[in-house]
Subunit: 207 residues, 2 copies
């Protein structure tokens, strides 16, 4: 599995790296999550400059895509040229958005009239874009998921691993990254958050 | 407050960036947490190349230091020249180690015969270095703290903020990064983890 973690200038490190690092726990099974950016280097909201691992058009070829978050998302969401470069297809890709990434998905027409999650800062802009926002860390509708609050990015990773490799693989990845002495607590909560959406998907597939 | 997050080649992104991003929530109060490395660029265990924000000798001048973790820590711990370049002073700095960072602190003589936390992979090497390992996410002895399991780095950040700006400031920073709908849960647990060590410190100060 090839996964693009879309990361723009002004990015929030938590929103890109928590998901990418958890997804990369699956490297032994051939998975790779890549920091994917429009420019060769991107600089975070806290001044950390990172070399991209893939260019933006990699997103259209990936099996799954996470749209990261940052302090410049409103500019990107208002830039038709940049939006036009982000080509995603929920018919054949899993797509997750973290915090202000939800605003980009809304502008790309991938949220429609579905309920979504985002962070408290982005919430008014997402509502302004016509999306109803849930007071919850994570929601998925078919192949499109959204998460709110930086550390909720663990749930996006858990959902992608569960969908593409099963719940046990997601539990293993979360177990590794969870604090010592709190591993069962972290795994149980994350699986509890994503499981209802896996069951809904299984029911829809069986229907 | 100036904080060094020691980050070496092969670093685990979670271990450096979760702590740094939470500490940087204090930027409005003049705090800065910097990715601090021996070389101008470092590449993570998952191939992410980052420009350092500070050179290694910045660690000796910082108010607080977090020793990050990665897949090459055993090499660093066996390299007397590199160890000699890491100059820390618990008499005037707060020092925290994350996962295999605990092995470096042990080799630097900063753990002594105290109990410490580390991750499950590093545990045998830390024991081999003569340190007893706790089955817990976090422990602090005076100005030296250790944490185990990638996401326990939130507790290192909470401890540093609590020690230098108070528990309310730590709660604010954690509230921001916690998942939507789970913010009270995250804040309460993190404060619960670090509070006993703040009280022990206050009691020692008053004694």
């Amino acid at each position: 599995m090839q996964i693009a973690v879309l990361t723009f200038d002004g990015f929030n490190e938590l929103d890109s790296f928590v998901a990418a690092a958890i997804l990369n726990r699956m490297r032994s099974r051939g998975w790779e999550a890549h920091i994917t950016s429009p420019t060769p280097h991107v600089t975070s909201m806290n001044g950390v400059t990172v070399e991209r691992q893939q260019p933006l058009d990699f997103a259209s070829k990936a099996d799954a895509v996470i749209v990261g978050s940052g302090v410049r998302t409103r500019e990107i969401a208002a830039d038709p040229l940049m939006l036009g470069r982000i080509r995603l297809d929920p018919a054949r890709q899993l797509i997750g958005a973290q915090c202000s990434g939800t605003l980009l998905l809304a502008k790309l027409g991938l949220i429609g009239n579905l309920l979504a999650c985002t962070d408290l800062t982005t919430k008014p802009w997402v509502i302004e874009a016509g999306v109803e926002v849930l007071d919850a860390p994570f929601v998925a509708h078919g192949n499109v998921a959204t998460a709110g609050g930086c550390l909720a990015s663990q749930y996006l990773a858990a959902w992608i691993i569960s969908r593409l490799a099963g719940i046990d693989a997601a539990a293993d990845a979360l177990h590794y990254v969870a604090p010592v002495g709190e591993k069962a607590l972290y795994v149980d909560r994350a699986i509890g958050v994503v499981r209802p959406f896996l069951m809904a998907e299984a029911a829809a597939g069986a229907a």
